[in-house]
């Protein structure tokens, strides 16, 4: 099934929660309202014509100019060999998106990574801890306004350029 057909299906079922679609993009995507993402994903996984049984990728993006954080979901279906991209946005100050961990177990770690690096809070996640950065790290490094600290536990994060000497 192509993106236009999938969008029509979602639109029919979820109405206003499906906010838009871009069929011209390199990978066509559907924009979903953040509160509805878990239900939309569950439907995409369970409907016999769609059967998106694989969460191929989940990424957070900082859209600083729009004061938003975005989560991008790349779904793939092994039985039907088709794919779709979903995007949700959430305010930068209080970023909250429902977890899809109970739809695909792969989401557990991917959401932890998005939380760690961008500070997106996935509501209902069973174990939302930092995964790549140290537990006591302050801030979320992939945010566009993140300023690298001068030091971490007395270890300097600066180094003289070898080219300058």
């Amino acid at each position: 099934m192509d993106a236009a057909a999938i969008h029509a299906r979602l639109r029919e079922r979820f109405g206003e929660a499906i906010e838009g679609v871009d069929l011209e993009a390199k990978d066509p995507f559907v924009v979903v309202r953040a509160e509805a993402i878990a239900e939309v994903c569950r439907y995409l996984r369970d409907d016999p014509d769609l059967r998106f049984d694989c969460l191929s990728n989940l990424t957070g993006v900082d859209l600083k100019a729009e004061n938003l954080l975005q989560v991008v979901y790349h779904l793939y279906s092994y039985p039907h060999r088709h794919s779709i991209v979903l995007k949700v946005t959430t305010p930068r100050e209080n970023p909250r998106v429902p977890t899809v961990e109970r739809v695909w177990k792969a989401a557990n770690w991917l959401e932890r990574e998005a939380y760690d690096l961008l500070g997106i809070v996935f509501e209902g996640h069973s174990d939302l801890r930092r995964i790549l950065m140290p537990e006591d790290w302050v801030g979320h490094p992939l945010r566009k306004d993140f300023v690298e600290p001068e030091e971490y536990h007395g270890i300097s994060t600066r180094r003289e350029s070898l080219l300058r000497s």
Binding site: S56, H74, L132
Partner: protein, 386 residues
């Protein structure tokens, strides 16, 4: 090893007042069988594992953040560091996502060069995987056999691009250099010697009864669970899912090449156990040999690199590509804001999802089998952390 008997014994102990306490053990971060720097917090009941919680991030080098600072061309050498055991695929993933963003077509000869380099790299990576796996299990000699062959591939790839591990061979739009003179003959020479050497390796260890019994029935992954956790590549195929991006979502020149997709069948015990994950890799090496031979026969003449501007500014938009790396489907996501620097890059790797499944599949197995599970999933720690 079956554990049904042990469980009954533990139950009996509970009644007799000889209760055992759960023990929390630390494995790593520096441990010879963790294939990089990573740590497990193991909760054990005697020899049985209740939990094996992975703690990753020791090798986080913020490669995704570096991409935002160095630009599209400049990021190519950094991609080598994502997975230094199979760096060609990382090169290819990055090149392909940039080409998709900008709509660049790679010349045919360039694509063939890529496939030759990648398949040689796949053999080298699988050799490291099976070699260190037998070493983790406790057999020393086969490891040297595997590494002897891997060194020869390193020599070939060094001829091709000047480096033995961090290749930086590919460019956006093709590859940096054409095959050097005599490369085809030397590669065929290698393959002629490698195929019998692989048989020798199989005689030595693959059919060894002790080795097989050590792996059979350990930590089986049913196909539905594998997909739930997004296991990819050989790990997914070992669970019986016949899916290979090269065949099912074809890219590059793979549609012009003939090869089989080996899957696990549970031949030594249960479907998707450690032995299946091992044997799938052995069989994939043979398929890669087939592919390299076909490529060397079919490679057309022509340029290897498309004309791509130095100041590479792809149009606004985002793209996601998937490459069948040695550790399976590797996803590269990139957003362009129309400037010289990628706005956001994300790399979803095979080891990342393989690591996340360990806790679930290692409940109830012996502590000694944890190293077999890690090795059979072919985890490369830097690829988890990026």
């Amino acid at each position: 090893m079956g554990l049904a008997g042990y469980e009954i014994e533990i139950e009996r102990d509970r009644g007799s007042g000889l209760e055992t306490e759960e023990m929390t053990l630390n494995m790593g971060p520096q441990h010879p069988s963790t294939h990089g720097v990573l740590r497990f917090v193991v909760k054990a009941d005697g020899e049985l594992m209740r939990e094996a919680i992975p703690d990753v991030g020791y090798l986080h080098r913020s490669i995704e953040k570096i991409a935002e600072k160095v630009g599209y061309h400049g990021f190519m050498p950094y991609t080598d560091r994502v997975d230094y055991v199979a760096a060609m695929f990382c090169n290819q993933g990055w090149a392909m996502v940039c080409e998709k963003l900008a709509g660049i077509e790679v010349p045919k000869r360039g694509e063939y060069c890529r496939v030759i380099a990648c398949e040689l790299n796949r053999i080298a990576s699988h050799l490291l995987s099976v070699g260190t796996m037998v070493l983790d299990i406790g057999a020393t000699t086969p490891f040297f056999h595997a590494f002897r062959e891997r060194e020869k591939i390193n020599d070939l790839l060094e001829e091709l691009c000047g480096a033995r591990l961090t290749y930086n061979y590919m460019r956006i739009g093709g590859v940096a250099w054409d095959l050097p003179p005599g490369f085809a003959e030397r590669t065929l020479d290698f393959l002629d010697n490698f195929e019998p050497a692989l048989e020798e390796f199989n005689d030595l260890i693959t059919e060894n009864k002790i080795y097989v019994e050590r792996l059979a029935d350990v930590a089986p992954v049913p196909p539905e669970l594998a997909i739930q956790y997004n296991l990819v590549g050989p790990n997914l195929r070992a669970s019986g899912v016949k899916f290979d991006l090269r065949r099912d979502e074809p890219y590059s020149v793979y549609p012009e090449l003939e090869f089989d997709v080996p899957v696990g069948t549970g031949e030594a015990g249960t479907l998707g156990d450690c032995y299946d994950r091992y044997i799938v890799r052995i069989r994939e090496m043979r398929e890669s040999c087939k592919i390299v031979r076909q490529c060397l026969r079919q490679i057309p003449d022509g340029p290897v690199l498309a004309k791509v501007p130095r100041k590479f500014k792809p149009p606004k938009g985002d793209a996601y590509v998937r490459v069948e790396s040695a550790r399976g489907d590797m996803g590269w996501y990139c957003i362009s804001d129309g400037t010289e620097f990628p706005y956001r890059t994300h790399i979803r790797t095979g080891s990342f999802s393989a690591m996340s499944i360990i806790n679930e599949i290692s409940r109830g197995i012996m502590i000694a089998d944890l190293v077999a599970v890690i090795a059979s999933l072919d985890i490369v720690a830097p690829e988890v952390d990026r």
